[in-house]
């Protein structure tokens, strides 16, 4: 008999032993004289259960996890018998944590074989592209505009408007650039897509090319993601062989091809203009805007630059229509957001859901609180430039505007959970230190402000003229916020000021109540 078994090839699953589990299962299968058809899928995103092994059964896939290599023998015996095992999680699709999600962007992640274009097509892939080709360029742009999709990298700028600007700009050469420089701590959604469903990103970029008249695409992936780089390169090669990329995209008259470029460890290159400079082979320094990348982007040509999640959401929008996508969400935040629960959290992973869910639901209910079992004291939302939220603000709905109204941001959708052992003055210091390490150096508020910020926080911690130095820190943050060229210097004040305002006791300061406003 042949058993079909799924074991993720996702980097985080590998980091907790997926490869060893795969070898152990192979060895066990040989001992039992069983042929195993081992599929290396992406991760379903239930990371506390990784390595998660799935088995194809007549009633669908059944999951087991977290599996250790030493479990392999017993697990295989159980699968060959009645399936009962201590690690059995039941049918994968019925696991409540997965079942409660609305997976649009991540519809196939963890299900398909990321190396197989055939598998991608068999699971509904390429339908968005087919419809895009039948609609024509202008209607494609309108679909994306009407869907309400906003930039998932963090800035939240309407994706369709960027596309329209590029489409309306005349040039002999235009580019689609995918920002896969996912440097924010607490985020891994881009990595999961590239490793688990890379063809959806390729399809999204091809649609963007057709819509705007761009014929060349680049995926700029950070060097810390070697597995994602390999997965994307393999998928691009397969897409070329399968006619998805090339001179005649899917048999049409449109040409589009793309390639992977690897970053070199600079966080600031996640900022779009610095990414463009890096692609051009320069120091990754931020450009002043205008001109917008849509007018003068890569090599001075009109360029669409979008985040991985934005582009990976395009195929389903084109497939199901703008209204389908727009019907999810709240306010001006339409569709779904792949939220990432990370840090000291019991149930960490990828949770895609419509905008509007509250921070408290995400952290306490879905995340299950801390892994350490201690009370949750603070969560940082949106990466190193995002604010720290105390429990008192857990009623904030996940929505671009709602977070902005509370001096925070949703950024790329990462939530890092901290328990009550966290020292918020230390976290504020780290925010400044990180900004100092990663500043591109072009503008003074960021380059010098961050270095001075570390020193000021140090003086506050040492109780050296504490009240006066807190005033200096506030003033410095104000200068950085309004004087910096990009979000690195401009948003570093969010974690610093939120730590100070919501947790003044950690700075030896009296409670602030409403004083901060």
């Amino acid at each position: 008999m042949t058993l079909r078994i799924y074991i993720p090839v996702d980097a985080a699953a590998l980091a907790v032993g997926a490869e060893e589990v795969a070898s152990a299962l192979h060895a066990a299968a040989a001992r039992h004289n069983v042929t195993v058809d081992l599929v290396r899928n992406g991760s379903r995103g239930l990371y506390w259960l990784e390595p998660m092994v799935e088995v194809a059964t007549p009633v669908g896939r059944v999951a087991y996890g977290p599996v250790a290599p030493s479990d392999a023998e017993g697990l295989l015996a159980a699968i060959l018998a009645d399936g009962a095992h201590a690690l059995r999680l039941g049918p994968t699709e019925d696991i409540p944590w997965l079942k409660r999600q609305t997976r649009l962007t991540f519809a196939r992640c963890g299900i398909v074989d990321p190396r197989s274009l055939e598998d991608y097509r068999a699971h509904g892939g390429c339908k968005g592209l087919e419809r895009a080709l039948s609609l024509g360029a202008e209607a494609n742009v309108e679909e994306v505009v009407q869907s309400g999709l906003r930039g998932r990298g963090g800035a939240g700028f309407p994706t369709g408007i960027k596309w329209r600007t590029v489409a309306q700009t005349q040039s002999t050469q235009k580019y689609i650039v995918c920002n896969a420089d996912e440097g924010d701590s607490g985020t891994f959604a881009d990595r999961m897509i590239m490793e688990g469903d890379p063809f959806v990103l390729i399809e999204g970029m091809a649609i963007a090319g057709i819509a705007t008249g761009a014929t060349k695409g680049y995926v700029y992936i950070r060097s810390e993601y070697p597995h994602a780089v390999a997965a994307m390169e393999a998928a691009i090669a397969a897409a070329r062989r399968g006619g998805l990329l090339g001179n005649r995209v899917a048999g049409s008259s449109f040409a589009f091809d793309m390639e992977v470029r690897v970053g070199a460890g600079a966080y600031v290159c996640g900022e779009e203009t610095s990414l463009l400079d890096s692609l051009e082979g320069k120091r990754g320094q931020v450009r002043a805007k205008p001109p917008l990348p849509a007018h003068k982007g890569l090599f001075g040509r009109p360029t669409v630059i979008n985040n991985v999640l934005s582009l990976a959401s395009v195929p389903i929008i084109l497939d199901k229509g703008a209204a389908f996508y727009r019907d999810f969400g709240m306010g001006r935040s339409r569709g779904t957001m792949p939220i990432q629960l990370a840090g000291n959290v019991k149930h960490g992973g990828l949770y895609e859901t419509a905008f509007g869910i509250t921070l408290g639901e995400l952290v306490d209910d879905i995340g299950g609180g801390t892994r350490s079992g201690r009370p949750v004291r603070a969560v940082q939302v949106g990466g190193p430039l995002g604010a720290y939220f105390p429990r008192a603000l857990f009623d904030t709905p996940f929505d671009y505007e709602a977070f902005a109204a509370r001096d925070g941001l949703i950024g790329h959708g990462g939530i890092v959970v901290f328990d009550d052992t966290v020292d918020m003055a230390k976290q504020a210091r780290f925010a400044m230190e990180f900004c100092a390490i990663e500043s591109c150096g072009k503008c003074t508020p960021c380059r010098i402000g961050a270095a001075r910020g570390v020193e000021v926080v140090d003086r506050i911690i040492k109780n050296d003229h504490r009240a006066a130095n807190i005033a200096v820190l506030e003033d410095l943050c104000n200068t950085m916020k309004f004087g910096s060229l990009c979000a690195l210097g401009g948003f570093t004040p969010y974690p610093v000021m939120s730590a100070l305002n919501h947790f003044p006791e950690d700075f030896g300061a009296p409670p602030r109540l409403q004083a901060a406003k």
Partner: protein, 158 residues
């Protein structure tokens, strides 16, 4: 070792540079190729690249020194990267980093005196739900605790 250990060789370097010349914006691909070949980017590569791309040597130098990844000298035989970003801090990464520094007798960003191990900070490996995380010579390790870290350190010191 994660990266190449071939000794610096001008002809090989020129070949790696030429391989990239037909690409748009070839400088980063060239630097990656050289580092993969030699494990670092030798100062002698700077004029070769400048000549090939028709840019100044200062520009090449400026790009090499801007990016954290590019090394100016070979790393140790093993490279251990520990994630120091927020998600790993929340999961207990700071004491582990201190433990690694103490056991190896190096500070973050330096190489042990015998050239065995280079210990480096990395800001996020994207394994934030299985934190704390590390990377030893390109191999990822999640859910790090003192026991797992000690095993990694022992491996790195061999």
């Amino acid at each position: 070792m994660t990266q190449g250990q071939a000794p610096w060789n001008k002809d090989v370097a020129l070949e790696r540079i030429r391989d990239c010349l037909n690409r748009e914006g070839p400088l980063l691909p060239i630097l990656h190729a050289l580092q993969e070949e030699f494990g670092y980017i030798d100062e002698a590569a700077e004029p070769l690249i400048a000549e090939a791309l028709n840019i100044t040597r200062a520009e090449v130098h400026g790009v090499i020194t801007f990016y954290h990844d590019f090394r100016r000298a070979p790393a140790g035989r093993h490279v251990l990267k520990l994630c120091r970003a927020e998600a790993c801090q929340a999961a207990g990464g700071d004491p582990l980093a201190a433990h690694a520094e103490a056991r190896l007798g190096v500070v973050m960003g330096t190489t042990a005196r015998d050239g065995g191990v280079t210990l480096e900070a990395v800001y996020c490996l994207g394994l934030c739900a299985t934190a704390p995380s590390a990377m030893l010579d390109g191999r990822l390790v999640g859910r790090l605790d003192e026991r797992r870290l000690d095993a990694l350190l022992t491996e790195a010191q061999q």
